[in-house]
Point group: C2
Chain length 352, copies 2
């Protein structure tokens, strides 16, 4: 303990600075600085001498000081509500890939979907003069929560959840296409006659986008089929609901106790589908085509395997990274529009 303390203090006692390695070599700070930044302006001999001496003295380049001077920073913050969500996790991979390639250092901050934490984190990032921010807003976030970052001029892109009244670039999946795809599959392929959109927080922007086209597709099918023979929209099953397997299981159990389920359900996420499928099984319910959204890796392992509508999350992350680069005024190549969703049909909807 005593020893550790001493060691710690010693390490902190005297930091080796550029000037130390410069003096020790009879050079100026500037030269050492040039070496550290791989400038071609120093001779090879000097360069290797500096490098050797730096190593010998245990010199560690102070990036923070450099950042202060140059007024730029290589830290990009990913601010997200739930690191554990696999979809979100994969998106972060894509962002990291694109930004890492051009030398940025990507770190993730977890808001746990709390606006207060989100506010604090964004504030912190602004204060640290981060290079940029990618954020999936917390569920209850409003335009206010972004006024600070907006005014600061810190390049920011909003991901997945759109916030009304915030004029920041937004990158998200094509929710309209998802809703349409889901409805079409349930109605045209499986001939479902009573359908619902199950789960999802009422505040989450994806839910509203998907519902809109989903309902629209239902209405169109109704017309096509003619009066009476049409497709029905189940409003009760389509009430908003926390997007967890647990909540979905409980809600579905309640509804199943009250009556038969729709014969086709588009779930807000695969997690929701897991809960619904479990409820259908334990309640020995009549056949019901279940479709998830996100296509988590697990879904293929499920019993039954879960059909799901997928948007390539890694590519979505890449797109997001490119949009941010653009926002930072850097040259970018590659597509700037999110990938289109596609359906991965498996057993849970009746395909197999």
């Amino acid at each position: 303990m005593q020893e550790e303390r001493e060691q710690g203090d010693r390490a902190r006692a005297r930091q080796v600075r550029m000037i130390d390695v410069a003096n020790s070599l009879g050079l100026s700070r500037a030269t050492v600085s040039l070496v550290m930044r791989n400038s071609p302006l120093v001779s090879a001999a000097t360069r290797s001498a500096v490098l050797a001496e730096a190593e010998r003295l245990g010199y560690i380049y102070n990036q923070a000081a450099a950042n202060l001077r140059t007024q730029r920073n290589d830290l990009v913050g990913l601010v997200m509500p739930d690191v554990m969500n696999p979809f979100v996790g994969e998106v972060s991979l894509g962002v990291q890939e694109v930004l890492g390639e051009v030398g940025f250092f990507v770190m993730i901050a977890n808001t746990v979907d709390r606006v207060d934490l989100q506010r604090q984190i964004l504030q912190s990032l602004v204060g640290h003069r981060a290079a940029g921010v990618v954020t999936i807003p917390a569920l209850t976030a409003t335009a206010d929560d972004f006024s600070g970052i907006r005014r600061s001029g810190l390049p920011t892109v909003l991901l997945l959840r759109h916030i009304d009244g915030v004029d920041l670039p937004f990158v998200g999946t094509d929710e309209e296409a998802i809703g349409r795809l889901g409805a079409e599959h349930l109605i045209s392929v499986h001939g479902c006659r009573r359908v619902a959109y199950f789960g999802g927080d009422p505040l989450a922007s994806p839910r509203v986008g998907r519902m809109e086209t989903f309902r629209q597709a239902v209405a169109e099918a109704e017309v096509e089929a003619g009066e009476g023979a049409g497709v029905e929209w189940d409003a009760v099953w389509s009430e908003p609901l926390e997007a967890t397997a647990d909540a979905a299981y409980r809600r579905a159990s309640e509804l199943l106790a009250a009556g038969p389920p729709p014969d086709g359900v588009l779930c807000h996420s695969d997690n929701v589908a897991y809960g619904l499928v479990k409820a259908l099984r334990t309640h020995d319910a009549p056949p019901c085509a279940v479709l998830g959204i996100d296509d988590l890796h697990q879904s293929a392992m499920w019993n039954p395997p879960i059909s799901s509508i997928a948007t390539d999350p890694v590519e979505l992350g890449r797109v997001c990274g490119r949009v941010l680069l653009d926002e930072m005024g850097m040259p970018v190549k590659g597509r700037r529009t999110p990938p289109a969703p596609e359906i991965h049909a498996r057993a849970s909807c009746g395909c197999h």
Copy 2:
């Protein structure tokens, strides 16, 4: 486009500094500085005047500059191989809780289990003069990979995966207890006679710890039961294996094609258990008690619900945070030892 550019440049053009708000008020920088840091040394009147003026001018405190000056930093890096793993994610919650409480800013860097990225990230954190680091080493990491951070004196704690030859504080689950618990449950409760430890990378330190006590418990049962009537260790099923559901499914399918499974299996993780359970089902295999490790939330939803050995991950994270605080020389209260694992028995092992 043109407009956006202009706007961006304007925001970047002139940063409002402390001295600007000081001048604008006829005060000195020092006074403004004291206000920004909530020092009691300034009068309430001055304080509110400063605050108002800062707001009016759009002044944003530069934390980075302050950090340079004070030689301290509030950034703590969590360096982990897989953000998506729910166990890891929950651990990060615990770390964040403890560290956040005392004012640190916790951010996560994803190594994707690649040593090169890990090296780069650690280097970056050292360069940025982070306050501390918590890291789950990449699978193939060696002592070398930590020599840099070791020499820098940056307070660091190793999480979950132990690396030989690295004298940094380590916090992990009690793998020995997990192995023992698993063996006992399978053998004593379910009367299994042929058991295995399924999955896990050979390099991962948890695997070796668990295997050791697992095999030991098997050997003891053997003796107790007497020659011939004993419990058998299945070496083939216990070969190392990547810890994913997919890999587990494929391997189990192969082995099942060659012969019957053990009647009791402790899986390296819940994910591995998912793959095994699916294989058992699709191959219509004889009864086999399956135990996972981690108890992910999903496991209770599975069909059948997966039995699992759990260590409270959030508490583990808290412990880890406290150890880091200690390492940073800060006062800490609360336990400094990881929580004990416990078994959550469900249907997959035959309990229900």
